[in-house]
């Protein structure tokens, strides 16, 4: 019990510190294994289709990640309020996926906005894998 608390504490302190995309992927891998014992790794291809796939939103519109981030994540996107979103792909924006709390904040918001549910660790990992792999 105490050990698991310490582990939790460690995870939290790691969340506050700057991270690398690889470290984040490791964290999501641990979660994904807990969510699904048959987990077999992250896939950039799955992440790419996740990024583009449009969902019929309950408001009647069709939305995807690319609605705001554009079809090419190496480009700047735009919010609905006309504000520029810096590129998601790490090749164009090395700041991406270096702050675990920020990453969780935006997955938390945007998964609910686009999918109307939380994302799984598998989906988050696939997504990051895709954006890290883009050249």
């Amino acid at each position: 019990m105490r050990k698991s608390f310490m582990l939790l504490g460690l995870l939290f302190s790691a969340n506050v510190l700057a991270a690398t995309p690889q470290e984040l992927l490791k964290q999501y891998e641990t979660q994904a294994k807990q969510e699904n014992p048959a987990f077999s790794g992250f896939s950039a291809e799955r992440g790419a289709s996740f990024f583009r796939t449009e969902h019929a939103h309950s408001t009647g519109t069709k939305v995807s990640c690319s609605t705001c981030h554009t079809a090419d994540p190496r480009n700047q996107g735009k919010t609905r309020a006309n504000k520029i979103i810096e590129p998601m792909a790490t090749i164009a924006n090395p700041q991406r996926f270096t702050d675990a709390a920020k990453v969780e904040k935006w997955f938390g918001r945007n998964c609910k906005d686009v999918l109307e549910r939380a994302c799984t660790a598998q989906e988050k990992g696939d997504y990051i894998q895709y954006l890290v792999n883009l050249k």
């Binding site: 919010t79 609905r80 309020a81 006309n82 504000k83 904040k105 918001r109 609910k112 906005d113």
Partner: protein
């Protein structure tokens, strides 16, 4: 303030009220521009999706309502952790329209009926009367987007400066 200075202020405010109104210059006691208040979390969190709205643009009750519904923020999920949300709410409430001494905040506040709690600044009577010469199609221009994007025409909007002399409507 010295007597003669008070007199000068009085005279100038009487004689040039309309000119100052048009230019958005400083009038009487509090100026037209909102005070340059700031908070790091407000700046970081409230400007990632939209321009940074000055707390003096809405009354306390509006900020409270807005900040307690961030999971449905104008159709988007803008949830914050509780500590960040409370800090920002406190900042907005402390510097809200009815607590500001500048003319614009006072007028915005006075234009809102006591029974109303608007979430959109563009819904206040002050806003609509100030923008009645701007057509809906102008607001919809690609360079502007909507009436929510103050900064498209008011370059110093994020500093709480909406002086008419600085307005430049993009094509």
């Amino acid at each position: 303030m010295k007597k003669w200075m008070q007199f000068l202020v009085l005279i100038s405010s009487i004689t040039s009220t309309s000119a100052l109104l048009a230019s958005g210059g400083i009038e009487g006691g509090g100026g037209n521009n909102m005070s340059p208040v700031t908070n790091a979390k407000w700046k970081a969190e409230c400007s990632s999706c939209h321009m940074l709205y000055h707390p003096g643009l809405l009354p306390e009750r509006s900020w409270n309502k807005l900040m307690s519904g961030l999971d449905k923020h104008f159709g988007e999920n803008a949830s914050l952790d509780a500590a960040t949300r409370d800090e920002i709410t406190n900042f907005l409430v402390t510097n809200s329209a009815e607590k500001s001494t500048n003319r614009r905040s006072n007028r915005i506040n006075q234009s809102i009926p006591a029974s109303a709690t608007p979430l959109r600044i563009s819904e206040t009577r002050y806003f609509t009367s100030k923008h009645d010469e701007v057509s809906p199609s102008t607001f919809k221009r690609k360079s502007i987007g909507s009436a929510a994007n103050c900064i498209a025409c008011h370059q110093s909007a994020e500093k709480g400066d909406f002086s008419e002399s600085q307005v430049r409507i993009p094509r």
